[in-house]
Symmetry: C2
Subunit: 214 residues, 2 copies
DNA sequence: TATTAATATATCTAACTGATATATAGAAGC
DNA sequence: GCTTCTATATATCAGTTAGATATATTAATA
C-alpha cells in the first residue's frame, strides 16, 4: 500500500541537488544527515532500482579516470514533483530509540549504583559526541565568517569561487544548512549532558538521604 | 544469529517488575516509555510467544470479575538472568529519525519561505508536546513533594499506603524514575524549541541582508 | 437499543537494520 | 615486486521493526 518509502524520498531530495551514485548518496547521508537521519545499504540499492523502474530517476554509467565505473542517478521531472509534493505535506512525529534511557528505566528497581553506572556510560558517550560536534561547529563558523569552504565538504558542496552576488548567496546558503542542522545536534547533546547531571545529582541526593535537596 | 531482540529484553525488563498481560505491557510502554522508546503490537505478541517457547517467561490465564479473560506472563529465573546480563552490557548508540530536520535539509535549495514554513510546523509540534510534558512534570513534582500517587500511574505503580521506612523509599524510587525520564523528554523538547528560534532568526537575517547579525 | 470506547489478542505487509559478500583501484609497507 | 590495507562501489540476506488492520468482549453513553 506504499505506506512510506522515506528512503525513496530522501534519495530524491539529494538527487534534486545534483546527480549522484549510490555510494555518493550513502556518504552524503553519513556526513550531512547522520545527526538526525540514517539509511542503510540494504534499503539504498533496492530503492535506487525502484526509482529507476518507476521513472523517478534515470541511471547512466560513468567511468572517471582511474576509478572503477559507477552508476550515476539523475532525478526526472516526475521524481522532482513527487519530492516537492512530499515536502509540502505534513511532518511525521520524530521517533527515537534511546537504549540508555530504556535501561535506566528498567533498572530502577535494582541497585542505585547500577542506575548511576548506566547514566555514566550515557554521559561518556555523549561527551565524546559533544567534542566531535563542537569541532565541526567551529569549522563551520569560521567558514561562514570567511566565506571559505571547509575541506570535509569539498566533495559535497559545489563551491563557486567567482563570487558574483548570486553565487556568494548560494555558497552561504549551503554552508548555513550544514551549520544549522549540526547546531540541532549540538543542542540535543547538550540537553542530554544536562539531563545526566540532573539525574546523577538527584540519585545521589536519594542515596544520601536527609541531605538538603538541591 | 539472534542479533538484537530489543523487544524481548524490553518485555523481560517490564516483567521483572511484575507479571503482566500483553495489553498491560503495551500500555505501560505507551505511558512510561514513549518519550524514548516504542514497541508495536506486531512485535509484542510474537515476542511473548517466543519468550514462553524459550522458557524466559510463563503464561497463565486469568479471569478477573467482569473483564474478559487474559494471558498473564511471568518472568522465569532464566529470563531474569538474561535481562540482567543485557543491562550490564554496552549501551547502543541512540537512533533518531527526524523528518522535520530531513525536510529542512533537503529543502534548503528551494525558497527561504519553504524552509521557514517547515521550521514553523516543527516548532508548533514541539510546542504542543511541551505543554503536555510540563503538565505531567507538574503532577510528578507535586507527587514527589507530597508522597502521593498521581491517578494516571495508579494502574502502573504498586503504591504502599502504609509508609514503613522501606515502602516509602520504594514509592519514591518509582515516582522518581517516571519523573526523571520525563525530564529527559522535557529537556529535549526545549532544545528543539531553542533550535527553532535560532534557525528562524538566522534565516530571517539571511533574507533581510545588511542587517546587523545577531 | 445502538453506538462508541476500552480491553484484549493476533496477524500481515512493507520497511528497515546490520552484517556480510564481492570486486576494483590506489597507497603503504617491506 | 609482493602483500596488505584502505577507499571506492554495488549488492543481498536474515533478522527485526512499524503500522495498519482484524477480531472479540465488556462497559459506558446516547
Amino acid at each position: 500500500m506504499a505506506r512510506k518509502k522515506k528512503t525513496w524520498l530522501t534519495i530524491l531530495g539529494l538527487l534534486s541537488w545534483k546527480p549522484m551514485s549510490g555510494y555518493d548518496i550513502k556518504k552524503y547521508i553519513e556526513i550531512g544527515l547522520s545527526h538526525f537521519w540514517s539509511e542503510s545499504y540494504g534499503q539504498l540499492f533496492p530503492a535506487l532500482n525502484g526509482l529507476v523502474d518507476q521513472g523517478l530517476a534515470t541511471r547512466r554509467q560513468a567511468v572517471s579516470a582511474g576509478k572503477r565505473k559507477k552508476n550515476i542517478y539523475t532525478i526526472t521531472p516526475l521524481g522532482r514533483s513527487q519530492f516537492i509534493a512530499w515536502l509540502g505535506g505534513p511532518i511525521e512525529q520524530l521517533s527515537v530509540r534511546n537504549e540508555a534511557l530504556l535501561k535506566f528505566f528498567l533498572a530502577s528497581k535494582l541497585s542505585t549504583s547500577q542506575s548511576i553506572h548506566i547514566i555514566e556510560q550515557y554521559r561518556d558517550q555523549q561527551r565524546s559526541l559533544h567534542a566531535l560536534y563542537l569541532e565541526s561547529e567551529l569549522i563551520y563558523r569560521r567558514a561562514l565568517e570567511n566565506d571559505e569552504l571547509p575541506e570535509e565538504l569539498a566533495s559535497l558542496i559545489e563551491w563557486h569561487k567567482t563570487p558574483t552576488q548570486r553565487d556568494a548567496k548560494s555558497n552561504r546558503q549551503q554552508l548555513e544548512v550544514f551549520y544549522l542542522t549540526l547546531r540541532h545536534g549540538v543542542l540535543h547533546v547538550e540537553a542530554r549532558l544536562a539531563w545526566c547531571d540532573e539525574a546523577l545529582s538527584r540519585l545521589n541526593g536519594m542515596s544520601t538521604r536527609k541531605e538538603h535537596g538541591k
